[in-house]
Amino acid sequence: MSKLFNIKEDRSLFPEKNEQGKIDIDLSSHKYLKLWHGPQHPGITGNMSLEITLLGDEVMDCETHVGYLHRGFEKLMERRKYIQCFPIVCRVAVPEPDFNEYCFASAMEELAGIEIPESAKWLRTLVLEMARLASYLMWIGGQAGAFGQGIIGQWTNYLRDSMLDRFEELTGGRVYHMYIIPGGVRGLLPSGFKQRMEENLKFIEQMMKDVERVMFNNAVFKKRSVDMGIIEKDWIYKFGITGPNARAAGVPLDVRKDNPYLVYPQLDFEAVTATHSDIYNRADVRRRDLLMSVDLIRQIMAKMPQKGEIRAETPNVLHWKVPAGETYSKAECTRGEYGYYMVSDGSEYPRRINVRGPSYTHAVSLLEKMIINCNLADIAGLMVSLHTYPPEIER
């Protein structure tokens, strides 16, 4: 019987597992049903599909199929100048483009030896936290929705939109911000921004109390999520799990703390952790992380310099040659460690850029393992709780 899911019925009819821990499936025996879950499926987070083999309504085997959103970013960047890569990197991850922009810019700045101005650092941190907040708000709606609570999504998508309005004001873009340009940022805070932001934050805090009451203190949600889909502590490094998924298991992996970047050392925060990583705990860690983002945004707004240079002096971007070298720049996004591995050969074009999205491990190898013995109805909830996000897998 699986430790993962609290299934309590008689398991004697279920087949034995072989040495690899898998079940020998003979489709012609008519016991099993093969089901394709996605890509056109409302319960899925982005386009990916799961090829599931079911026995009854329990998953016996699963293979994830990705690649529906493959655009070949890493190839496209090789034939674009560095500055031309800047507008396209944000497209790798739609809900939180800023982490891409930041990782790309900081990797490039490190290779080029550019120090960005102080106020640009604060503004970058601000948009990263805003992106985290917006992304969590969207995620929380998905998590509740996957367990049948449509109302949470209705609330939080409105809250997310209020954050997008602030983004629009600050960066000129609603979803794709293209704000963290190599060398700095593209604009100072508009007048009245802080006040409007504070109103948004207050409303978010107020609504999050309701979310807590309606979603987290909810018998149905607890029933479906507590002790469901547990990530064991010893899997963390074995599978390369990062972010809230790891923190919920009590492993405080948070790049903001571990390898502090931008102005995080000057901010007061702790990595949010829980004791064991089931769906409920992961959701709770994300909720607390969300509230911490609210707090961090307040701290940033209070401490940041009022004006100053927003972009360091750089060579002419039309022929910016980055010295040969390679580096890896990472940041903590909502799903975990987000990183850009950049190799330069000293020319105007990057030699190679590799994007590390945390879903790469969460949605493929980890999901394939965790989904075994999961009930068909819980698949969506499990996927959302791993915060899988396909575009960063295939890029």
């Binding site: 004001e169 794709y176 039309l318």
Partner: protein, 597 residues
């Protein structure tokens, strides 16, 4: 207990039942933010069609296309960006890098169409509802390329005002790389340069630190890079697209950098001119000025055997005898000329055509003749008093200085004229006064007001740094002479120089007068040509316009098909036109000789 709470607490959501809905009432009327990156706008008159937006666009969304009503002219390609909204990603990099600041974005974002082919438009030219929108993305407060020029190191005024040592020190490698980095490679400058030099290409060679390639590009169109790198009138810089919102590139100093950094003894090797196949044809060239040298260079490359006839003891024409050494050192002239001579060009010095030899004789002895004799005669204002012996022409004095002869220097000097030659003589006089009297008292006065003075801006600034007074906007009236000695120049205020049709027609206010004290007056209001070497027979057959200029075709061939004419007597006056004329004439001569066969 906890379980009961878990069942009841979700019901608290009911409290929102009475709340006002937060839905946007009229979403279609909602505007984008002030900074929103919406649809493109372009101030089409400000735009110069440099294509930098096209270069930076990673989506190949921008094409440059001709637009009705926009003419191709110096500094404006006549093209305007056409944007494909089937490609655009609204990153606004095109706005941020726009050299003229003409491109911007509105905060409008709704464009619905049934035909996908319609999403191509020319911002500014096509009538779009957002053209007048005030809000939207504007170029932010940073630069994607450096708008500021790398300062050139120059001698301090105190260090230079006594000697004729070269003022401009030239760029170091680091400075040249930094300056070359500012180029956006639009190529607008190439059309304006009379020689159509490959300016973006040689600047790229500097960036790639491939100066040999740079030199090859220079010699493609200009055989006098050391000279041009110092004294070219740099029309390219006036149209430089980077100059619209910042300092233009110092194209001239970059050219000089390439020429300076390549050692003269390696020129032939770099340029691949060690051996040139001779074709046995002979060309005579009169005058070793820029046009003559340029023609000789390109003819020599084609295998012609060229002989230059020079009236003065050294080659270079006006470049040597008209431009003071502090601007153009003689050894640099020699560097350029020696290279041309090394190609097998011969110069016969101290030969005056019309005296020592005749044009008819040259016609007989050579397959073709090129003449570029330049403007060496001074022109007079013809105001009362100009016949006095202490009234001189600037060109004469400059020539004497270059020849090493002593010239008369007075304690108080007035120069009439506002061109580069006037500045040259003013600054030379300042030096000589400093050497002789230890102080400077020279006034240069021009008809033109300061903003339209024909002299280069930096010449005026540097002259003032050297304590010469530049007083523009006065018309000379008469030279006051007392006891057979000049005492000064009477002037009246000049209101305008050109009339509405752009013709020279100065207007004065007789009531505003001034008097500049002087013991010596130098006229520098333009030069005339000396065509006395043309025999009457030739003159009869030679077509000339009503102002006495020889009429030539595109290849500088006159109506006498063996006679080619170029340089200041046709176009200019300046060096770069001379070089361009010489190059074209060389091609013309080649065509002419090939057609004779």
């Amino acid at each position: 207990m906890g379980k009961i709470n878990d069942i009841l607490s979700p019901f608290t959501a009911w409290k929102h039942l009475v709340n006002e809905p937060l839905t946007v009432k009229k979403p279609l009327e909602r505007e984008g933010a002030d900074r929103y990156r919406g649809f493109h706008k372009n101030e089409i008159d400000k735009c110069i069609g440099c294509g930098t937006c096209e270069d930076i666009c990673q989506n190949a969304a921008i094409d440059l296309v001709p637009v009705e009503g926009i003419e191709t002219k110096d500094g404006d390609s006549g093209l305007r960006p056409k944007i494909d909204y089937g490609r655009c990603c609204w990153c606004a990099l095109c706005v941020d890098i726009c050299t003229t600041n003409s491109l911007s974005m509105s905060n409008e974002f709704k464009w619905i169409d049934e035909d996908a082919d319609n999403f191509l438009f020319i911002p500014g030219a096509d009538d779009k509802p957002w053209n007048n929108s005030e809000k939207g993305w504007k170029k932010p407060d940073y630069n994607l390329y450096d708008p500021n020029r790398v300062d050139m190191q120059e001698l301090h005024p105190e260090d230079r005002d006594k000697s004729f040592i070269e003022i401009v020190q030239g760029y170091s490698k680091e400075q040249a790389l930094k300056e070359a980095d500012r180029c956006v490679e639009c190529g607008i400058c190439t059309a304006t340069c009379p020689a159509h030099m490959g300016i973006p290409e040689y600047i790229r060679a500097i960036r790639n630190d491939d100066l040999e390639e740079g030199l090859r590009i220079l010699y493609d169109t200009n055989p006098l890079p050391e000279i041009c790198g110092r004294i070219c009138t740099h029309k390219c810089e006036t149209v430089c697209s980077v100059g619209h919102t910042g300092d233009p590139l110092s194209i001239r100093w970059l050219k000089r950098y390439i020429a300076d950094q390549n050692p003269s003894e390696r020129f032939k090797e770099i340029l691949g001119t060690d051996t040139i196949e001779q074709n046995g044809k002979k060309i005579a060239i009169i005058g070793s000025g820029p046009s003559g040298l340029s023609a000789a260079h390109y003819l020599a490359l084609m295998g012609y055997s060229c002989t230059i006839f020079e009236k003065l003891p050294l080659a270079g024409g006006m470049m040597r005898y008209g431009i003071p050494e502090y601007r153009l050192p003689y050894d640099q002239i020699d560097k350029d000329i020696n290279y041309i001579l090394s190609l097998g060009v011969e110069i016969k010095y101290n030969v005056t055509i019309g005296k020592d030899n005749t044009l008819d004789q040259l016609h007989k002895d050579f397959d073709a003749v090129f003449t570029g004799t330049g403007l060496h005669l001074g022109r007079s204002t013809r105001i009362p008093g100009t016949e006095h012996k202490d009234v001189h022409f600037a060109t004469d004095l400059l020539r004497e200085i270059s020849l090493g002869n002593e010239i008369p220097v007075a304690e108080k000097v007035v120069v009439i004229g506002g061109g580069n030659v006037a500045m040259d003589i003013t600054r030379s006089m300042a030096r000589l006064q400093n050497q002789k009297f230890g102080k400077v008292n020279v006034i240069a006065t021009s008809l033109e007001s300061e903003d339209i003075m024909p002299a280069d801006r930096e010449e005026i600034v540097e002259a003032r740094e050297e304590n010469a007074q530049i007083i523009p906007g006065w018309g000379p009236q008469s030279i006051e002479i007392k006891n057979d000695k000049i005492t000064g120049l009477h002037v009246i205020k000049c209101l305008s120089v050109f009339d509405e049709e752009g013709r020279f027609n100065p207007k004065f206010d007789e009531n505003i007068k001034d008097f500049f004290e002087a013991e010596m007056v130098i006229e520098s209001i333009g030069q005339g040509m000396d065509l006395s070497y043309l025999t009457d027979e030739i003159k009869e057959n030679l077509k000339m316009d009503n102002r006495g200029r020889i009429i030539v075709d595109n290849n500088f061939q006159s109506s006498l098909e063996w006679l080619f004419v170029g340089g200041d007597i046709i176009q200019g006056p300046d060096v770069i036109h001379g070089i361009a004329n010489g190059h074209k004439a060389a091609i013309g001569i080649d065509n002419y000789i090939n057609s004779k066969k």
